[in-house]
């Protein structure tokens, strides 16, 4: 691995770890700020889903919808998020590369595991995630975060916070 490639991987890994920490700390506004203005958050509903427009998703939200989701979490009567679930994210097996697209500077893939607890109910979310990141003056920003859960097509209970 060249020095540049190793640097990119280290930078991406640090970004993913920080992203998970923000979610674990419930700092959702700071997490949202990691998204580019044209960024999307996507959790497909079937394995290998090709398209978010012609097939339903668990989440497919642009920044405006994500902002509404996050605002809702702090509402005193957001019943399905009372209490807001506590999570522990762990990110591993990180790879990073430079895609050919002009508007993205880094595409990184990783394996994600998230333990979630809400009112004593514990769940484990796991899957592969892909981040397409753009370098800005403020740092790396998310153009697309895609999480492919291993059980994306199973019947689930409520999911109120982003994974």
């Amino acid at each position: 691995m060249s020095v540049a490639a190793a640097d990119l991987k280290a930078e991406a890994e640090a970004f993913l770890i920080e992203e998970g920490r923000l979610l674990d700390a419930g700092r959702f506004d700071d997490w949202l700020a990691l998204f580019a203005e044209d960024g999307f958050y996507w959790v497909p509903a079937v394995p290998g889903q090709a398209d978010p427009l012609n097939h339903l998703s668990i989440f497919y939200e642009d920044k405006s919808v994500l902002a509404m989701r996050i605002r809702r979490l702090s509402h005193p009567r957001a019943y399905s998020a009372l209490p807001v679930p506590r999570t522990a994210h762990i990110v591993g097996n990180v790879t990073a590369g430079r895609p050919a697209d002009a508007d993205v500077d880094c595409e990184c893939r990783s394996t994600l595991m998230v333990a979630e607890n809400r009112g004593g109910d514990r769940r484990l979310w796991a899957g592969q995630q892909m981040h397409r990141l753009r370098r800005t003056e403020a740092g790396l920003r998310i153009v697309l975060k895609r999480v492919d859960l291993i059980d994306c097509d199973a019947a689930h209970g409520i999911l109120s916070v982003p994974i």
Binding site: D38, F40, V43, A45, V46, L53, N54, H55, L56, S57, I58, F59, Y60, E61, D62, S64, V65, A67, M68, R69, R71, R72, H75, P76, R77, A78, Y79, S80, A81, L82, D153, A154, A155, H156, G157, I158, L159, S160
Partner: protein
């Protein structure tokens, strides 16, 4: 707990203005519901587009039964119970597909798309009396299957009223669904949303036409959308539609009062539409809609098109297992799993001949309303689970459903109607519940 519940006891559990908590918590009552409601009523099984080709199959549930809905080589549709007649194994483990028949994984008994037993291995070790054509060796079949304009229903009762009589005046919802397609056909597409909650199945249906709850249960999503100051005049994606869907639950009580409610003795109920703004409004005027409307006029003419698009009804429940939203191309199926556990499946349709963007909006509608991450339905589900938990308390015994009782208006065709904020749908649903539960077998 008794094995069964006497009819006289059942009669004492449903009164016009209240129902007993046992309807939601008693597993003996749940078992009777599976036999007398889900075992008798016409249940929505599939849409014909899901089993368009010979050999196509899709699985569903009919009360307790795991059912494979198949299209045979001759085009006929069958409902087969997913249980080998030999040693009882499930014979089909995938949700849908295309096959020539079904081979049991255990000892390779093979069955046709019509359920007939076609072959068994090592015939010479079976007694001479073993007759492969014995109907008892064929897969158990759903005795009655009927379609109405592409919507396939089945009944586990060998006799009883036909599908048309069961649907009654609600056939107009299916008509409206199909009439919205410029080519006169609809097809299921875009995947199936699956969700489970820890609560009784009836909680879903009560809530779907309850116009008092949105102001409270959905307050957080309404407030969150209201606080969004973004200009959606030219949305890059469809934050606009999500925004509109969340805002629409923000009617005041006076506006909800204007949303009509209708119920029938059959338990079928519906409410008026309440998406009045933006890309979801019945009288919307955007380039996509104008294009679509012109295509519909080409099929139906102006007068009928205005009538079809003007039909503004929401959550049309065909009691007990399916709810239709024609104008947003949505369908939701409710599958009871146990007295306190329910699965909800939802999917949407493509209107053949309509612009692609209209289908994208239907997909968006489905994701917004029926994904486990829905910011709207998740709060409903949370409440269902809290009701189920609350009802585990032995007392008080009764749930009140008297709101609007004094102002129900009885129409000539058996319909009961009311202004918006009424528990009329509850009363219609439980009236039907009691009738099915106490009718002689």
């Amino acid at each position: 707990m008794p094995d069964t519940v006497e009819t006289e006891t059942l009669r004492g559990l449903v009164l016009p203005d209240r129902v007993h908590r046992r309807l939601y918590t008693d597993s003996a009552i749940f078992e009777l519901e599976m036999a007398r409601i889900f075992g008798r009523c016409w249940l929505f099984l599939a849409h014909e587009s899901q089993i368009a080709l010979p050999g196509d199959f899709i699985r569903t549930r009919m009360g307790r039964e795991d059912v494979i809905v198949t299209r045979a080589r001759d085009g006929r549709i069958h409902g087969l119970v997913n249980r080998c007649t030999h040693r009882g194994s499930q014979i089909c483990s995938v949700e849908r597909g295309n096959a020539g028949g079904f081979a049991c994984p255990y000892h390779a008994w093979t069955f046709g798309l019509d359920g007939a037993l076609n072959s068994v291995p090592h015939r010479q070790s079976l007694p001479p009396a073993f007759d492969i054509k014995d109907p008892r060796l064929a897969l158990a079949k759903v005795p009655r299957i009927e379609s109405y304009r592409g919507f396939v229903f089945g009944s586990l009762a060998a006799s009883g009223e036909g599908l048309r009589d069961f649907l009654g005046p609600m056939t107009d919802v299916i008509d409206n669904f199909v009439d919205r397609a410029p080519e006169g056909e609809i097809e299921q597409a875009g995947g199936i949303a699956r969700q489970e909650y820890r609560g009784n199945w009836k909680l879903h249906h009560e809530n779907a036409n309850d116009t008092l709850h949105p102001g409270f249960v959905h307050e957080s999503s309404v407030a969150s959308a209201r606080a969004d100051q973004r200009d959606y005049a030219a949305p890059a994606y469809d934050g606009h539609q999500t925004h509109t869907q969340m805002l629409s639950n923000g009617f005041g009580l006076r506006e909800w009062q204007g949303v009509g409610l209708t119920g029938y003795a059959s338990g079928h109920t519906f409410m008026g539409g309440f998406y009045k703004a933006g890309v979801l409004a019945p009288d919307r005027d955007d380039p996509v809609w104008r294009d679509y409307r012109a295509r519909l006029v080409a099929r139906h003419g102006e007068e009928k098109t205005a009538r079809v698009l003007g039909e503004d009804r929401f959550n049309n429940l065909l009691y007990p297992n399916v709810s239709l939203n024609a104008q947003y191309q949505q369908i939701r199926i409710v599958q009871p799993l146990a007295v306190d556990r329910t699965r909800v499946l939802a999917f949407c349709f493509r209107l053949k001949g309509a612009p692609d963007i209209l289908f994208h909006r239907a997909v968006r509608f489905l994701t917004n309303l029926s994904s486990p991450a829905s910011m709207i339905l998740s709060d409903d589900i949370e409440i269902f689970e809290r009701v189920q938990t609350g009802l585990s308390n032995p007392a008080p015994e009764w749930l009140d459903q008297s709101r609007g009782l004094a102002t129900d208006r009885r129409g000539t065709d058996g319909r009961v109607q009311s202004a918006g904020v009424s528990e009329l749908p509850h009363r219609a649903q439980y009236g039907a519940w009691l009738r099915y539960m106490t009718e002689a077998a």
